[in-house]
Amino acid sequence: MSLQMISVILGSLTIASALMVVLSKHPIRSVIYLVITFFFISAMYILMNAQFLAIVNMIVYAGAIMVLFLFVLMLLNLNKEMEPETSRLGLISALIAGGTLFLVMITALRDTFQYGKGYTALKTPESGLVENLGNLLFSKYLVPFEISSILFIAAMVGAVLLAKREKQVID
């Protein structure tokens, strides 16, 4: 089976499971479909020989963030009666926000057509390996990399501050 075929099959599976995230009625099932979607995306990375990115996607998104999602959803007892009423204003703003995101994605898609349809092999197949990625991150992209890590620390400190109760007394 050619890589072209595999990429088409993987792509359609990814889209199908992503659709199931939106379409499934139960939030827990949505999260599980999202996890499956991340796995398919990881498979796409492996197809492009970006093993490091694939595994990190699995550890961070499928392994940590989605576990937290599932964790929170299991604690919330979600059922029909507790579903909050959505106002018309909220609906319209959601539509606009979603539509804008869709537009951005379409524009991003436009560039891919210049490289020909479907799967094309990377010019340098080793570019996704961890050694090359590390070299790039710590030379050419050092400043953006460090700034994004500062951003992460800021977000973490903020989260801790929000979660911290005022003047907790433990005896």
Binding site: I28, I32, M58, G63, M74, L75
Partner: protein
């Protein structure tokens, strides 16, 4: 990839599968005998000489029991849960280098199914998705004790993964590679990482116990509070798979600990041998190390009482993670000094 390679890899996968299951089965026997020994009892001795057929009897019993699915359970997720647990327990063995190359039929056969250049990250990836089996199974049971077990398992595993990862980074720093094969090769002979990183080993060992849900961190299945924890509603071979996956992961994580800190298949005086003799001796050395780790893990179970949940969180976040970070910083400084970067 040629056909011969495909055949040898498939044979290796099948062999590993059978060995993992066999070892897991006999771990249950070993654990019961060990518990009996520690508590001054006889232990299982009815099935066969010294009760050696006990695991087979247990397995048959598991298969023949009624398979019960609760009426209000989420049927598909209830079925998938044990499967995910078993899958994640088994798949880690794919990146483990079991010995030096074996020469069979004129071919050099590597005793590692997949030599990724990111083997150690693969292990962490599998560990991080391992929690889904317990979470999904516990939630789908639609039982509050199961849910408590699932929630405890997930919070415990997320908390301990951090310290585990940070302590393993020091090994990556020392060997300069993420590949398990390179990490083992860098510990040739008696040049084991434990002599350089005792603190990292200690943290890694404790967090492994927590990731395995083994005593003293077996809160997800704490029988005095939660009946059976996440597998309260399970019966028959589904329960069997959960119990089995715990023993399989114990086997594999013992292997990982041996690789990272105790030289994997390396043993002192290995330069005196070569070829197939070396391969067989290296497999034996590796098996011995795995066996010792399994023994210590079981020994701990029958020695130390269970942690309380707040003690568990305190230990994870306020003790293990800071110690691991300090250890990582010191290692980084020493490595930078040795490389002449400072």
């Amino acid at each position: 990839m040629d056909t011969a390679m495909l055949i040898e890899k498939s044979a290796l996968v099948l062999l590993l599968f059978l060995i993992s299951l066999g070892v897991a089965a006999y771990q249950t026997y070993f654990e019961r005998k060990l518990a009996a020994w520690i508590q001054d009892r006889v232990g299982p001795d009815r099935a066969g000489p010294f009760g050696i057929l006990q695991p087979i009897a247990d397995g048959t019993k598991m298969f023949l029991k009624e398979d019960f699915i609760p009426a209000k359970a989420d049927k598909w997720l209830f079925i998938i849960g044990p499967g995910i647990s078993m899958f994640t327990a088994l798949i880690t063995s794919a990146v483990v280098p079991w010995g030096t190359n074996l020469n069979l039929f004129g071919r050099d056969i590597s005793l590692q199914v997949a030599d990724f250049n990111i083997g150690i990250l693969f292990v962490f990836g599998v560990v991080s998705i391992g929690v889904y089996g317990i979470m999904i199974g516990g939630w789908a049971s639609n039982n509050k004790y199961s849910l408590y077990g699932a929630i405890r398992a997930s919070s415990q595993m997320i908390s301990y993964e951090l310290a585990m990862g940070i302590s393993a980074i020091t090994i990556v720093m020392l060997s300069g590679s993420l590949s398990l094969n390179d990490i083992v090769k860098s510990q040739h002979g008696m040049n084991w990482n434990i002599f350089y990183q005792p603190v990292a080993f200690f943290i890694f060992f404790i967090t492994s116990l927590a990731e395995l849900n083994r005593a003293p961190f077996d809160l997800p299945e704490c029988e005095s509070e939660l009946i059976g924890g996440y597998h309260t509603e399970y019966s028959s071979m589904k329960l069997g798979l959960y119990l089995f996956s715990e023993y399989t992961s114990m086997f594999v994580s013992s292997a990982i600990m041996a690789i990272l800190f105790f030289g994997g298949y390396n043993f002192p005086g290995m330069d005196a041998f070569s070829g197939n003799t070396l391969a067989i001796l290296s497999i034996a050395a590796f098996a011995l190390k795995i066996f010792l780790f399994i023994f210590v893990i079981m020994w701990i179970r029958w020695t130390i009482p269970r942690f309380r949940f707040d003690q568990l969180m305190h230990l994870g976040w306020k003790v293990l993670i800071p110690v691991a970070i300090v250890n990582m910083l010191i290692t980084g400084l020493v490595v930078a000094w040795n490389q002449g970067w400072m």
